[in-house]
Amino acid sequence: MTPIDRRRFLGSGAAAAGLASLGLPLRSALAQSGEIVIGAAPPITGVFAFAGAGLHAGLGDWVEWKNGQGGIAGRKLRYVAEDSSYKVDQSVAIFKKIVAQYKPPLFYGDSTGWAKAIAPELSQLGSVLATGPSFASDLADPAKAPYYFMPGPTYSGQIEVLLEYVSRSAAGAAKPAVAFVYSDTEFGRDPIASGKAKAAKLGIPVVLEVVTKPGAVDVSAEVIKLRRAKPDFVIFHGYVLAPIPEFMRQMRDAGMNARGMGTIYTMDKTTIDQMGAAGAGFLGVMPYRYSFDTEKTPTMALIREVGSRKPNNPWQTTFYTQGWLVGMIFEQVLGRTLGAKKELTGPNMKAALESIGKWDTGGIFGVPIALKTHSIPVGRVYLVKGSTIVPNSDWITIG
């Protein structure tokens, strides 16, 4: 080891102190400028990175574009984000850091764990309205988590959309049978109980439930069970990709005609493409319009225009669309609160959020939406057809 020289030691300390002090003038300048800070802890790395980079880019680009339009109520926006690595302790740390430094009224987080850990803090602070990419059903509860909302339907809502589709697809009096295949995780189990209740209400027989680990696992025994149960639709939830392709492949090999169905984080095109031939005919719920949708809409055209200026085309994913949508909801909340000449406090922003009704997103959703329940109970069923994904239902509003 190189011996430590006292002068060098003190010099390094001084340099570190100087570097650390750089943040201070930045903060005070920000406080005076009247900028509205949007904090974020997107999972740019870690297991959720496949979506996190797009979410980050979407929200960041929206802020940049909005500032180009003059900001909101004459105030510029500032997007302050740090990678959470999809770890609860780190995302909570980022939240605390950004809230302490910049006092953002709005925050975009990263996971169900983060949202649950931060919910009591949000209530205690009463000054931050937060959202994130988790659609956990527990979180869409204005009573328990008053300052949290989600930019889409809950996982339970997504399953409801699929079951509505199944119910409507019945040719005669008898409803098609479904099987649930889900991962042994919080994510996987989230909508199952409510899904079974909804199926019972719609008269849809649930012929089998299969629980697996997420990821690449041997599914041959489960496929044999599915073959015996003879479902018409197999709803997969709690996975991103694996083991869905393996299920689909083995179901085909076993001569089954059952249609596979997925939820939001399976249905991005980047994931569907990875399914290869196994993905042919796959159905799934997606609350947003795809960037390649043939129906021309103003917001999707804007996303394409703004996003195309960036490298790697992140705008093509639904994650980017979700990030952009979050920005649009923030705009509604800020605009309604400031427009009513109210301060950006938690209760005021919550009231503004809940006042959003019959809002036209310019095409991200095909129908006007409301955020009274702190979620957006709308979705559409899409079909994987060749190398693309096409709409296979109308926009379905549930609840």
Partner: protein, 347 residues
Amino acid sequence: MRIGDFHASYRHDEALFDTRAQRVWLGLLLAALAAFPFVGGSYLTYLACLLGIHLIAAAGLNVMTGYTGLISLGHAAFMGVGCYAVAVAERAGIPFFLALPLAGAASAAIGLVVGIPSLRIKGLYFAVATLAAQFVLGFVFREWESVTGGVRGANVPAASLFGFELAGDRRVYFLIAPLAVLMLLGARNLFRTRVGRAFIAIRDRDISAEVLGISLFRYKLAAFAIGSFYAGVAGGLWGYFFRVATPELFGLPLSVFYLAAIIVGGLGSILGTILGATFMTLIPEFLRALVGWAEAFGLEQAGVYLAPLRQVVFGLLIVGFLVFEPHGLAEMWRRTRRFFHLWPFRT
């Protein structure tokens, strides 16, 4: 220049902090810890709380692995037991000052059961047994819905004392920090007793220890119970801090985190525990701050491009420490300290 310590009495010889300088520094440290949340702000107080929890848990693992030689890959699960125990205790109206020892006791009881195979197996074989405990307990957390809330988890109410809620970072800090200091002092003291020395003897050569009259079964189980107790208390504090207990929080990655912390810090050393846990907790934050500075200096999109690199740098730092200083950060600290003690002479 210091050239040694002169002990004039047995009492002085036995003192935990045997020099005046040490006692002064300790006093200053305690004063700084007491003042910290008032000057550190919310973010730093949060990190301090997190560090306090990691310190207690890592100290427990070091008792098992560093001092007794029982490699455990189930430490996070023992923490989970503590966290759920606190959630259940709070539901039953038990106050935090009883709930936390209960959490430790529940975890210690489970640790005793998991530690039983240690009589017959050791080393990597025993590590696999503890890995099994990690998965079995994880399964229990997910499936025992009436107690744990299943995969959705359980909410933990804020700790409260005579109606005063310890909610928020600053208040919880005054629960976590004193406990961390006490438990680290307890661990440090443990290895000046017969029990602690028996642990070290077992680690160094178990057959010789048995020949010397040390009951391997009893002391190995004791080590496991003590280590698990620490994990249980840390888990309980985790519950009071994050106010939620879900199975995914106490998975294998957290167990590996603690193992890495004590290896990087220095096995069989309380100082190593402190340095290792601090390193593992703060370095990711520091690296993230570096990325933030890069963006502040005009490197647009630095967050996107440098964020994955951060993980690589973190991994390389750990490997680097292990390669260049296998005895961990504690040894580097000792060497640095020795240098300043002997300055201007070279060591």
